[in-house]
């Protein structure tokens, strides 16, 4: 049994003071949809916690706001708040799609974007989309504030760069200028309440039938969700009428294996990542036409 003392912060300053004072013995909880499972399973990462600090009622951290250059997702906004946000719908339907395939209605009502990121599961559905969107995270401590790309913030499976005295307050999603296409794919064992075996987010512009500024991020294919830069480079400028889908699929699978090496799951995942990108590109081409 893990034993801890409950603490509750009503505002950000109070939470930061508690973290500053108690440092490493504190774990934060918001929606709790990963944390309670971790505690139930007595996860190694949680051994030795003395305090569980609830930050779910800190006001203002749940807001989704238009900030001219970027959309601000408060770290405490829930998956269902993302799904129901007019701003998300208008500017980033990709995020709505990614949030919509997380867990169940009950989980989407509680789970937060901050939790999805900070749990740092390689299969996190929002993270793959946010990596493709070049999102940044804002971290505050009592005396400092820093900002870094989400791709650098997540340092490994279930590992982040969060310092013991910091709280993630927001995620910045930069607006994309001009018209663009996007696609989200998820392979899972069943239709709902399923963790992604692999997920994929693709964003691209299409100018004069040519792919431009294409961004491709896979989750659950590599230790952390990342952009597949080689296949992006290969596809950049290609005419959508002349895409060699078999070659693209092969190259994508190979790029994964170049990163992970051959693992027990490779015979399954190698063709699947290729086929998923193929499917995403086919969808985009159909949409363009």
């Amino acid at each position: 049994m893990l034993e801890f003392q409950a603490l509750k912060a009503d505002n950000l300053d109070q939470a930061l003071d508690i973290l500053d004072e108690k440092k490493k013995q504190v774990k934060m909880i918001a929606g709790g949809t990963d944390m309670l499972v971790g505690i139930h399973n007595e996860s190694d990462d949680l051994k030795g916690i003395d305090y569980l600090l609830d930050i779910s009622s800190i006001n203002g951290l749940e807001l989704i706001e238009d900030k001219k250059e970027y959309m601000k997702l408060g770290a405490l906004c829930t998956h269902n708040e993302i799904i129901n946000s007019d701003l998300v719908n208008e500017r980033f339907p990709l995020l709505k799609k990614a949030a919509g395939v997380i867990g169940s209605t009950q989980i989407r009502n509680r789970g937060t974007v901050g939790g999805n990121i900070n749990n740092a599961s390689p299969a996190a559905d929002l993270v793959t989309a946010l990596i493709a969107l070049d999102a940044k995270v804002v971290l505050k401590s009592k005396d400092q504030k820093r900002e870094l790309p989400l791709s650098q913030y997540i340092t490994g499976p279930y590992r982040t760069d969060l310092k013991a005295n910091e709280i993630m307050t927001e995620v910045k999603v930069p607006y994309i200028q001009g018209e663009y296409y996007e696609n989200y794919q998820k392979v899972k064992r069943r239709q709902a309440v399923a963790i992604a075996r692999i997920n994929l987010a693709v964003i691209t512009k299409v100018e004069e039938d040519k792919l431009k500024d294409i961004k491709i991020a896979f989750g659950s294919a590599t230790p952390t969700a990342i952009r597949f830069r080689k296949i992006e480079k290969y596809l950049e400028g290609k005419d959508i009428a002349e895409l060699n889908l078999e070659e693209i699929a092969d190259k994508t699978g190979q790029e994964m294996v170049d990163i992970t090496g051959t693992r027990w799951s490779t015979p399954y995942k190698k063709p699947v990542v290729g086929n998923l990108l193929k499917r995403a590109l086919q969808d985009i081409v159909k949409e363009v036409q």
Binding site: D54, T105, R110
Partner: protein
């Protein structure tokens, strides 16, 4: 491990409680307040048997600590009945034989009640989404969907069941 003071409103009644730090909302409802309609199934948010309505939203009560929801309002299956009258949704579950062993029923009712509170005329797909986090191992899903559809129609037409 110290106790935490919490005020909860459950089924329209206010309770001032001293709870343990690791006491889940599920534990408080079942063990402390004896609302045993709330069921514990998987304990990890997959089966939905513990679903309650927390501040108008369906949540898994096994995934919430009671200390987190100080000041909140909770509705359990026991709170659906009003003045001796079952909720139209409960009547519809009976009429459509949407109850077999009954273990999933309180969770199913709370998930679909939350849906109807927010969306009085859901499509069949929307009903499916609302209960995607509720497992029924007797596999009576069709009857459950029929029941919710009919309850939605009844409340729309204003008829009393």
């Amino acid at each position: 491990m110290g106790k935490v003071d919490v005020t909860l409103t459950v089924n329209n009644k206010k309770y001032n409680l001293k709870v343990d730090s690791d006491e889940r909302l599920l534990d408080t409802l079942r063990e402390r307040l004896k609302f045993t309609g709330v069921k514990e199934g998987c304990s990890i948010g997959e089966c939905g048997a513990c679903t309650v309505i927390l501040d108008k939203k369906a949540v898994n009560s096994c995934m919430v600590y009671t200390f987190q929801v100080d000041g909140c309002e909770v509705l359990t299956v026991e709170g659906l009945e009003m003045n001796g009258q079952l909720d139209p949704l409960q009547e519809a579950f009976i009429d459509h034989q949407a109850v077999q062993c009954g273990f999933c029923t309180p969770g199913m009712l709370m998930s679909t009640k939350a849906l109807l509170m927010d969306n009085p005329a859901p499509t069949r797909e929307e009903i499916k989404t609302a209960i995607e986090g509720n497992l029924c191992r007797c596999t009576g899903y069709q009857q459950i969907l029929d029941a919710v559809e009919s309850a939605a129609k009844v409340s729309r037409s204003g008829e009393d069941v």
